[in-house]
Subunit: 289 residues, 2 copies
């Protein structure tokens, strides 16, 4: 029952962004530096990871019911087709949906734009005991906002510090933050965009504006690099996840989530009642009778 | 790919509450009137149901992305240990979490109590394209509120019509509502409460107040019967789901969800762009170059 997934080199260590030395250009989106070397091996490991995730998630949920405040927030960012949706399906799909909260951040509405950029984010922070997943996030406000000049440079430049302060605050409230940049190559993006256009069941995922963003691929890489370097903090590290291979991307994110939960070591709460007394009530003085 | 789940007698027809003739005392919580007769057979069918649910859910999600307003809301109600959590794990767990929104309604907070009883419910209605699941719901306001005299009788009596009007309004906005009463026997509840108390990993699910509610089992049955009869409408039918057998309960709810999605027959949206033009742009004038 307490069987553990096989040990592998710490995936967190392998992919964590160190602001001092990080070089995005040096990260190969097709690399598989640690862990399984094949799709089949990754699938086998994912099944084991899923079982341990399930146990840890239930303990975290129970801890929350018992008054604990800890929770996990997985942030997914990446260019179009990098696999944010696929990661949610295959990684978030491993856990019990009752303890999961998914939030997707699209282009802000007019109502959202009337507030500070963190306003809509705060409303979606997962409650205690839960695993939250952000499909895009407040990082859009230093990515598309910067590349498309949606705000003055002085504004987006100021946001890195605001983001770090916000994430520090979340961490202080018990939120373990795992931020994943799903890193794909422009060639792989092209293949996936073509695949979306060729398959009638995938065309809904495509938007002609995607090509506009693709035309700014290198400017996005600069914006991502800055976001990763300026906002990879001990309280909320960034991980650069090679995402040209879907199976590897899913495996890495699942392992990062697992390592975060293991680090928390969530514990079932001590009951606030005496189980023996309650059992006696049920057996000898069942209130139903 | 378009393989359909095997036909069974309509589960909706078998379990829908007809206000004219419904007799809760006549519903056997251990019955298995339609569908599989064993846990193994139910598990086999559930796997097939899961695949069809997955396809229909993706089409519904795509429809929402394309501007559609339709969505599904599954409401789960039942006495303690009836299996609301288990149903979420095993039925909601069949679909892609990206298109799922789970909302749990606990005892209202003081802030919530300052508002109308439907206020906190409205905020959790699933967005277009999504499947929402309510773990408890606005029905608590005619159940515990009535049994424990939390409001005057004139107030809870007025709520049935308010609920019907609210659900009618949701239906008009494109929400297909499926309400499941997970019906268990007092004997089975006793077994499950004992199991929770005996297993250290389940004790967090137990609350001494559960015995208080158990002592009012028959008053709750009256309150449930009235809620089911007064609020099973064409726009938002109630289903009385025999829930003494977990595998049967899960199978019934999964089938009810499947029938609701089949009834919607969600359709992938027509692209608002010309795929051939976009393919040509990518192949001959890739903006990246």
């Amino acid at each position: 029952m307490a069987e553990k997934s096989p040990r592998v080199q710490s995936v967190s260590d392998a992919f964590r962004v160190d602001p001092e030395s990080f070089d995005l250009a040096g990260v190969d989106p097709a690399a598989t530096p640690v862990g399984p070397r094949s799709k089949a091996a990754a699938a086998r490991d994912l099944a084991v990871v899923g079982e341990e995730l399930d146990r840890l998630q239930e303990a975290l949920y129970a801890e929350g019911v018992g008054g604990g405040t800890r929770r996990v927030l997985l942030v997914l960012q990446g260019m179009d087709t990098s696999g944010k949706g696929g990661t949610i399906r295959h990684v978030a799909g491993l856990v019990n949906p009752q303890g999961l909260r998914i939030a997707s951040f699209k282009k802000p509405t007019r109502a959202e734009l009337r507030h500070d950029f963190l306003w809509r984010i705060r409303r979606q922070v997962p409650p205690p005991g839960h695993i939250g997943v952000f499909d895009r996030s407040h990082y859009e406000d230093v990515l598309v906002a910067r590349v498309d000049n949606l705000v003055p440079a002085t504004e987006w430049q100021r946001r890195y510090r605001r983001i770090n302060a916000f994430e520090r605050e979340l961490a202080d409230e018990g939120v373990t933050i795992v931020k994943c940049f799903l890193h794909i190559s422009p060639e792989r993006q092209r293949d996936r965009l073509i695949a979306r256009l060729e398959d009638p069941l995938k065309r809904w995922k495509y938007n002609p504006a995607d090509l506009g963003a693709r035309g700014k691929f290198s400017r996005y890489q600069v914006a991502y690099r800055d976001a990763l370097v300026k906002c990879s903090t001990p309280a909320a590290p960034w991980f650069a996840v090679p995402s040209d291979r879907k199976w590897y991307r899913n495996w890495v994110v699942a392992r990062l989530l697992l390592e975060a939960l293991r680090g928390l070591a969530p514990a079932y709460p001590q009951p606030s009642y005496d189980p023996a007394v309650e059992l006696a009530r049920l057996r000898d003085a069942d209130p139903l009778r």
